[in-house]
């Protein structure tokens, strides 16, 4: 009797699980393309605001190589580097980098530099900073992140690349110092490294698509 009941209940539960899984498979199948499109559009939009159209004739999104460098790029997993080339040669690179020491975890950013020793711009892609304070690193909330644009790239770590409180040249926010500090330090590390490695970054093979990493 009890075994019969168990069997019946088990079968019913199994049927529900199966039906639910089926429903989810269908939904995922129907939305997967669109989700990837959205993520790509978001990244493309950011890439294109950092590296203007006239600076490249190649497909930025496809011309991408994966680099693993936890000390500089903040993640133990590979981060994509996008290369911009025009008919006159190499023009710019955009590096995905991570500030591991934000107020609440990782801050993912896209940093673009050109071949003339200048920062083209920085954008935050993903973060979990405090709403109303640390989230001023988003362009939606504040223009702060634009202060990196057109800065010269130092040859080594420079005291200028700190928040004002620490004697540097960049503003902190009222009530939030940890977030801008983390962002500035990560950007500084990334641009110094990328500027020194430009040659090899431009020459590395395009391998982002093969690994299926579309972030």
């Amino acid at each position: 009797m009890i075994f019969k009941n168990m069997k019946k209940n088990g079968l019913i539960l199994g049927a529900f699980a199966l039906a639910a899984t089926g429903l989810l498979v269908v939904t995922q199948f129907l939305t997967a393309d669109r989700i990837e499109q959205q993520q790509r559009a978001e990244l493309m939009g950011t890439l294109n605001t950092l590296i203007p159209e006239e600076m490249h004739s190649n497909d930025l999104f496809a011309d991408c190589t994966l680099v693993t460098n936890p000390d500089v790029l903040g993640r133990s997993s590979p981060q994509p580097v996008y290369r911009a080339r025009s008919t006159n040669g190499n023009t710019a690179i955009a590096i995905r980098t991570t500030a591991p020491n934000g107020y609440s975890g990782n801050i993912d950013m896209l940093v673009a530099i050109n071949t003339n020793n200048k920062v083209m711009g920085v954008r935050v892609l993903q973060h979990r900073e405090t709403p109303g304070l640390g989230d001023k690193i988003e362009t939606r909330k504040s223009d702060w992140i634009l202060s990196f644009t057109q800065q010269n790239i130092p040859a080594q770590e420079s005291p200028r690349w700190e928040v004002r409180k620490d004697g540097g040249a960049f503003d902190q926010f009222t009530g939030a110092t940890i977030t801008p500090r983390a962002v500035i330090n990560a950007v500084e590390r990334t641009i110094i490294w990328a500027n020194a490695q430009q040659e090899s970054l431009f020459n590395a093979p395009s391998n982002c698509q093969q690994s299926g990493d579309s972030r």
Binding site: N5, L23, L24, T27, T130, P131, G132
Partner: protein, 231 residues
């Protein structure tokens, strides 16, 4: 008809999931920093509630009593995952700002509570209406708390509404007060607790006023009856 009326009254006021049952506090407190976020999560919760209520009600004949809870959990989790995927595909910028709070709808006890308390015992159309009323009650509190926290914390209303409603909604943004310093307390979780406490207090106050009024009415009626009795 009267059942519908009771359901609306219960969901929106007397048994409001956020103010009386105090269910679903985790998403409630986490997301209500702005009206836009609150509205987004409110709508998502409403959809899940109605969907899960209808499904639970439709399958109630086939689900043995012993395994009803796991079945409810499967149904709710499925709905939440579907909504997350759909939001990711069709409202990407909102998905970015609501982020981790969507999966949290699964942990909203208001939903399994309604499945267990109402939907598993009533026909699907009533269960759907119950989900709607409860969802509106929950969403209403979410939006109200979001509005209070946004005004006090940032001095704005409907900031970022375009992420949820499309480009036209950018015009909805109202600058209520200009702050040099945002009032941190309102934006951080303690502010949510304090705000919710005030909302509950106001609701209880209104209830008490209402009860006192009714008592008075009953008393005057009774005296009048006695007066007419004497003459």
């Amino acid at each position: 008809m009267s059942e519908i009326k009771t359901l609306s009254k219960n969901g929106l006021w007397e048994n409001n999931p956020a103010l009386v049952q105090l269910l679903g506090l985790c998403p409630l407190l986490a997301v209500t920093t702005t009206v836009t976020n609150a509205l987004g999560l409110g709508l998502a919760t409403l959809l899940v509630l109605v969907g899960s209520n209808i499904t639970v009600s439709l399958v109630r004949e086939w689900v043995p009593n012993e395994i009803r809870i796991p079945v409810f959990v499967i149904v709710i989790a499925t709905f939440v995952t579907m909504i997350e995927l759909l939001m990711n595909a069709f409202a990407y910028s909102l998905y970015l700002s609501l982020g981790i709070f969507i999966p949290l709808i699964v942990t909203n006890c208001a939903i399994i509570g309604r499945a267990e308390a109402y939907a598993s015992k009533n026909p699907w159309h009533l269960a759907a209406y119950d989900g709607l009323a409860m969802g509106l009650g929950f969403g209403g509190v979410l939006v109200l708390l979001g509005a209070v926290r946004e005004i006090i914390g940032q001095g704005t209303l409907f900031d970022g509404a375009e992420l949820l409603l499309g480009e036209w909604a950018a015009a909805l943004r109202i600058e209520v007060i200009q702050f040099d310093y945002p009032l941190l307390l309102a934006i951080l979780p303690p502010g949510a607790f304090i705000g919710l406490g005030f909302l509950i207090a106001i609701k209880n106050g209104i209830d008490r006023l209402h009860a006192a009024k009714q008592e008075k009415q009953a008393v005057t009626k009774a005296t009048r009856a006695r007066v007419t009795g004497q003459t």
